[in-house]
Amino acid sequence: MREGRQGILSAHETPRLFQRSAIVGGVMRVASLFLAVALFAVLAGCGSTRGDTARLTASADATPARSLSPQGLSVPRSCGILNVAAVRSELIPGTPCAMVLSRYRTLHQQPRLQLVGRADIRSPALLRQLTSEFDALPPAPKGGLACPNDNGSRITVDLKYRHHRTLRLTASLSGCPEARRGFVTRSALGRIGAKLIGQLEALTRAA
């Protein structure tokens, strides 16, 4: 809302600026136009983000999503992917506007997965924290690894952006735990990973 009001004030000021000189006025007109376009884009972005959020909540099936954002708090203004190359190389490129965590476990001796918990995260602080913790995971070891028992349990993390399609990463909870998105894989073995896995499990604990 504050951004919307600033846009209106700017438009009203534009005629006064024209009185200084033609050159300055021309420059300012271009700048003003640019500002107006930028503000429109921001407003449109906010709208689309809210739309995404609504869809996220609506898409939660049997297990209701737990919203971890204070009531009325909008998504971070800065969320997005600035570096497109990061989409190919980073586990979580940029800063997502929201994360939807879905926790699954395997049924006994069946390959099917059962959804056991879900969380819809929009708190900017929590988003930054999780992004930072995912980014801190080390690369997967290149050599061989005899792992703990892997029962197939996992958490999928849908990364929602303002101007980019949703990206999905998967964090395995058992075996040699890892976070994987496409060809980007990080190991969640060790203290850093254990802390992150514990946090993801706590966030998606069935209510």
Partner: protein, 257 residues
């Protein structure tokens, strides 16, 4: 160096063979007619796994500091690309990501075929200069000696019954220790983040002894390895035996996450 290592030990090394048990001749192995009595009181459950096949002692009231396995060193074939197997005894890894283990491997990255190795996660396995002899018994023991001089200390022991050769190693760690389970496992390991297909080892015989008792003395779970709906390996033998079982390969599976 050895004298120094032994002098530094705070407990006694056992000279091989470390246990007065009768190692059955693999050719005579027959679970159904085994004289090994029945399980001593452990109760059985089951679990499915993407990477483990074998028996796991568990108990909320019992901690385990020793897992010793005598197994017939497998002589696998590799019917699928990259097919691999490791056979081991270890502590932890069932209820947590903390796992210490030792055993042998076949077609495993970084190991010669049949070479011994130990591992304390999160680090990868470490090879040792002791190899198993295919078709002959091999002993692998993981022992948690506790905190010695302020350091969590594991002891790994390897013995090849064909050659009569052995290797042991004391390893300290700052990683977590999980004494809630003792494990006797055939596994398909991971390499570069992906489970390898399982090498065809046919059937291999294993014996498990936990805290110096037959594995069936304690509660245990029976693990079957799956890839999707495909059963890759399974075990049988306990009961009637209280420590002797077979682990049987069924399928390769595929390289997968």
């Amino acid at each position: 160096m050895w004298e120094q290592m032994i002098n530094n030990m705070h407990y006694s090394y056992r000279t091989p063979p470390s246990r007065k048990i009768v190692i059955p001749n693999p050719d005579d192995f027959n679970v159904a007619s085994s004289n090994n009595s029945t399980a001593e009181g452990g109760t059985a459950g089951s679990f499915s796994s993407k990477n483990w096949s074998g028996y796991v002692n568990y108990s909320s009231e019992q901690s385990y500091d020793e897992a010793t396995s005598y197994f017939v060193e497998p002589s696998p074939s590799v019917p699928c690309s990259k097919a691999t197997e490791v056979t081991w005894a270890g502590l932890g890894g069932y209820n947590s990501h903390n796992l210490a283990q030792n055993g042998t491997g076949y077609n495993a990255p970084g190991l010669e075929n049949h070479q011994g190795w130990w591992e304390i996660l999160p680090a990868g396995y470490v090879s040792v200069p002791e190899n198993g002899s295919p078709g002959y018994y091999f002993e692998a023991q993981t022992y948690y000696a506790g905190v010695i001089s302020g350091k969590k200390t594991f002891y790994f022991y390897f013995y090849d019954y064909e050659e009569g050769s052995w290797w042991d190693e004391e390893v300290t760690t700052t990683n977590g220790v999980d004494e809630s389970t003792a494990d006797y496992i055939v596994e398909r390991p991971k390499a570069s983040g992906y489970f390898r297909p399982l090498a065809d080892y046919g059937s291999t015989k294993m014996q498990g002894f936990t805290n110096n008792k037959d594995l069936a003395h304690y509660p245990y779970n029976v693990g079957t390895m799956y890839s999707g709906e495909t059963e890759l390996a399974s075990v049988a033998g306990i009961p009637p035996s209280s420590y002797l079982f077979t682990d049987t390969w069924h399928h390769c599976g595929k390289e997968e996450e």
